[in-house]
């Protein structure tokens, strides 16, 4: 029996017209058949939002990759919606790989939980499909996806060959460096960090306040095996991530707490 060519589903959170998804399609060119299902509009920082209260639409989209026409759909929803809808309605068979990105900007440390790019890959991992989220660690606009695309291709090839443990996806962050200056790939953990919020307060023309989210990113982690450290030091960071949020290390301690009897004295 002839083995079918791998099917690769591609999504992102910057939207179907973003340069990063064009680079990702180019990076996957020739590795398999490609279907793109990406948000019609930018969906940054939507985290793992899904659309439940409104219908979702998928519009065939004229998308040209390096080898010509690519089957593509612009979806009126979030990155997680794109993958859910694609799996049910848009792909001809189960994909062998789902890739998301290339996000313009890093998805490292605490930012992983806000990332729509990662959530698209997470949806695939929940369904047991190997999945990778790619981010190009360039702040601000502009930049060149060349090296990120090359590294994305390299990582995707390895995963197509080797598969991934079910439920695990890879969160890949590529430094903003020319290919020759990238040291290689490092397996990392998510750095401990937080944002110190400082909302900018302004007044509208009717003297009512409104607030813009802004803040200062604080790295709380001095480890040399984190996603932040890797990217800052010229490595491609590859973090295996999962959607089981259980804090296993905390289970035993909490089991020893006295939680009280539902009808007991503690409930007053």
């Amino acid at each position: 029996m002839k083995k079918e060519r791998p099917l690769i589903l591609i999504s992102n959170d910057d939207g179907i017209e973003a340069p990063g998804i064009l680079s990702l399609v180019a990076a996957m060119d020739g590795l398999g058949d490609i279907v793109v299902a990406a948000p019609l509009h930018e969906q940054s920082a939507v985290g793992h939002a899904i659309t439940m209260r409104d219908p979702v639409r998928a519009r065939p989209w004229p998308f040209r990759g390096p080898s010509g026409h690519v089957t593509a759909y612009a979806v009126s929803g979030t990155p997680a919606d794109c993958v859910k809808l694609a799996m049910d309605k848009l792909v001809p068979r189960q994909p062998d790989l789902v890739v998301s990105g290339i996000n313009h900007g890093p998805n490292t440390a605490v930012n992983v939980i806000y990332s729509g790019t990662v959530s698209a890959a997470t949806e695939a991992a929940i369904l047991g499909i190997p999945a990778i989220a790619f981010s190009y660690c360039k702040w601000g606009s502009g930049g060149d996806f060349e090296a990120s695309g090359r590294m994305a291709r390299s990582v995707a090839k390895r995963v197509l060959e080797g598969g991934l443990q079910p439920g695990i996806l890879l969160n890949v962050n590529i430094p903003d460096l020319p290919l020759a200056d990238i040291k290689g790939c490092m397996i990392t953990r998510q750095a401990r960090s937080k944002w110190e919020e400082s909302f900018a307060e302004r007044m509208d023309p009717f003297d009512r306040p409104y607030y813009w989210l802004s803040g200062k990113f604080v790295n709380l982690d001095s480890g040399e095996n984190t996603d932040l450290w890797a990217v800052d030091n010229g490595w491609v960071s590859i973090t295996p991530i999962q959607h089981d949020l259980t804090a296993y290390s905390a289970l035993e301690g909490l089991e020893n707490w006295k939680w009280g009897d539902p009808a007991g004295e503690n409930n007053t």
Copy 2:
């Protein structure tokens, strides 16, 4: 020096007018000073979305708890926005506890990652503040938050006394049973599960298709220490959860992969 009364910040994802948040305010009554910062509109399934492209507003809201007026704000954003904004602009001092809910419907198994209720508590945990997400495991509308409120009070009191390990929050799911039939509290892990999507396809009056998200929940986990098992068997499920998504068990295996040299043969 007189110890200040604890400050408790309350949020949710069902919106500031939902019955569940009123029950949660009642459940916290007398345990400390209370500030409510909750979404103006329902925000279910927004996951960890934050609002970056639009300003956010906070409107003082007339909120009455069992002991009278409660300081409250309706926020034009997501649950994560509510906690971020509250921490920066709305609370008089750092809260001792952040509670979210009481969500109408379970937040167990894979649903945790879609939950706005959990994301509000996660924001607090990132900032090192003890936090608890409460959900009342009633499907559909209606129901009675009485037992959920009693259990929420009990768990919150324990956490105010004992604190939580920094970065860890509790995800609490309370079965839809009268208080007398609840067996007690069980420390659990998040059950492995998935949704099998089946979008309903319809045609609009212009003959263009649109899709409604629906699907079948599949429990992949037969363990008797999971959130699903606990709730199904009459226990309050308490799952410690974290925002570090690193799949630590996968690190070593991946370190042994050959990832290839950035400029090498694998990049073609």
